[in-house]
């Protein structure tokens, strides 16, 4: 008996599910090998085995089972129908397209408007900066005007005391100062040479008793002109013996480091 014949004898029992594990595995391996004859015979055997169902005594399921089944099936059919309707309903309606279009237009408008607003903000910022500069300029002009007015008042007020500051160097121009007991000291000079590099001119108040009191530092402009204002002198007019100007390092000094270039007594 060939291998094929041996397997042929197993077909009906395989269709019945009665083969033990070893024979079942062997037969399945034979089928997997591509035996068309056994495959065809197996289909016939399966049909034959199914006919054994008629050996079962006739019995009838209850009406309850039928009712339960039909109820389930109808519910699922209705659900499927609803899903199908919903699926058909997923086609994009015209109003949704309209909404998308409106949203697109709005987005474009928003982008354009944002850019326009940004440009507007930049303009406003530029305007604000210009106004700030203008205001600073006006404040500076106001301050200058105020200083000029104060200077003019100091120079014109009868209560002011005029102080002459002759230069120690006869080639240097003399300076003049006016001291108002309430508005402070104003010192002016013309054609004054600039101090050396990193040097400044510094005003000193020499009290009647004690060491020279440091005051403001200043530079003459390109023409040698300068006006120095001291709003609140550290020493009073009556207690001051003289004014002096020295050349000091940049930033000024607490005590004179050089001989006075200009010196004038307060009478």
């Amino acid at each position: 008996m060939s291998n094929h014949d041996q397997f042929r004898e197993l077909i009906e029992s395989y269709a019945l599910g009665a083969l033990d594990a070893q024979e079942r595995s062997a037969f399945e391996a034979h089928l997997a090998g591509g035996c068309a004859e056994c495959a065809k015979a197996l289909e016939e055997a399966r049909w034959l085995v199914s006919q054994l169902a008629y050996l079962a005594p006739n019995a009838e399921p209850s009406d309850i089972l039928k009712g339960r089944l039909l109820q389930t099936v109808r519910a699922e059919a209705a659900s499927d129908s609803s899903l199908a309707s919903a699926s058909r309903g997923t086609a994009v309606p015209w109003w949704l397209w309209a909404g998308v279009a409106a949203l697109l237009v709005f987005s474009v408008y928003s982008a354009w408007n944002t850019r326009r607003l940004q440009e507007g903000i930049s303009d406003l910022q530029r305007q604000a900066e210009a106004q700030r500069k203008e205001r600073a300029k006006l404040e500076q002009e106001l301050l200058t005007t105020k200083r000029q007015a104060q200077e003019a008042m100091i120079w014109s007020d009868p209560k002011s005391v005029k102080i002459k500051l002759p230069a120690k160097d006869p080639t240097m121009p003399a300076l003049e100062a006016m001291w108002h007991p309430e508005m402070g000291i104003c010192v002016k000079g013309w054609k004054v040479p600039s101090p050396g590099e990193k040097r400044v001119l510094q005003l000193w108040l020499i009290p009647k008793a004690g060491k020279p009191m440091p005051s403001m530092t200043f530079w003459p402009d390109a023409d040698g002109t300068f006006t120095a204002m001291v709003d609140h002198p550290p020493v009073g007019l009556v207690d001051t013996q003289a004014l002096a100007i020295t050349e000091e390092p940049m930033g000024g000094s607490a005590q004179p480091t050089s001989a006075p270039m200009w010196l004038g007594g307060v009478s």
Binding site: G17, A18, E44, E60
Partner: protein, 195 residues
């Protein structure tokens, strides 16, 4: 898995089933109801014979028909329907049977009685043919020696293997193998000769 079943041309698979299955694919509830009316009795009879308990059998039958309803697209309409349905029902019932413990099953066998034995097959167009074939199957198998008939029934309704049947009947393994194969071949010849 559904499709790996059956075949013979000109079998009992008839056009009414094919038409109903075609409608079933479109989720036609009335088609499902017709299929149920046509085949629920034999399916239930088979499952009840295997499980021997009415309520469990109805649960399995319900599963089988719901599977048909839900997965009808998986069924190959070129193949005969009834063998497919009966094989599905048998497999489901045997799976259920194997879930039970041996002790529980024995207790049920002692207390359960077959419920609602049908008096006759339904009066449909194909009912007579089916009834006749059922009678032939019964006649052919009944004509076998009782031990041979018992061996075939243990294999088909209990899902036992050759060696399990040999042990149950206290017969040699080779004898059991021959009984089963020869019995099925006799059934095959008998159905051919009378069809």
């Amino acid at each position: 898995m559904f499709l790996a079943v059956f075949s013979p041309k000109g079998s009992d698979d008839v056009s009414p089933d094919a038409t109903l299955l075609h409608r079933l694919l479109r989720k036609d509830v009335s088609a499902f109801e017709e299929i149920y009316e046509r085949h629920s009795r034999i399916v239930y009879s088979l499952v009840l014979r295997i499980l021997r308990q009415g309520s469990t059998a109805e649960e399995v039958v319900q599963d089988v028909f719901l599977q048909l309803w839900r997965n009808s697209a998986q069924y190959d309409a070129k193949r005969p329907f009834m063998p497919w349905l009966l094989t599905l029902a048998r497999n489901r019932a045997l799976d259920q049977l194997r879930l039970k413990s041996e002790r529980q099953r024995r207790r049920e066998e002692q207390t359960e009685v077959f419920p609602q034995i049908a008096a006759a097959a339904p009066e449909y167009e194909q009912a007579l043919d089916e009834k006749r074939r059922a009678e032939r199957v019964r006649t052919l198998i009944t004509s076998l020696p009782s031990a041979q008939k018992k061996a075939i029934e243990l294999a088909y309704f209990e899902g036992l293997s050759h060696s399990e049947i040999a042990a149950a009947l206290n017969e040699p393994l080779g004898t059991v193998k021959s009984w089963i194969r020869n019995g099925l071949l006799r059934l095959k010849d008998g159905l051919k000769a009378r069809s």
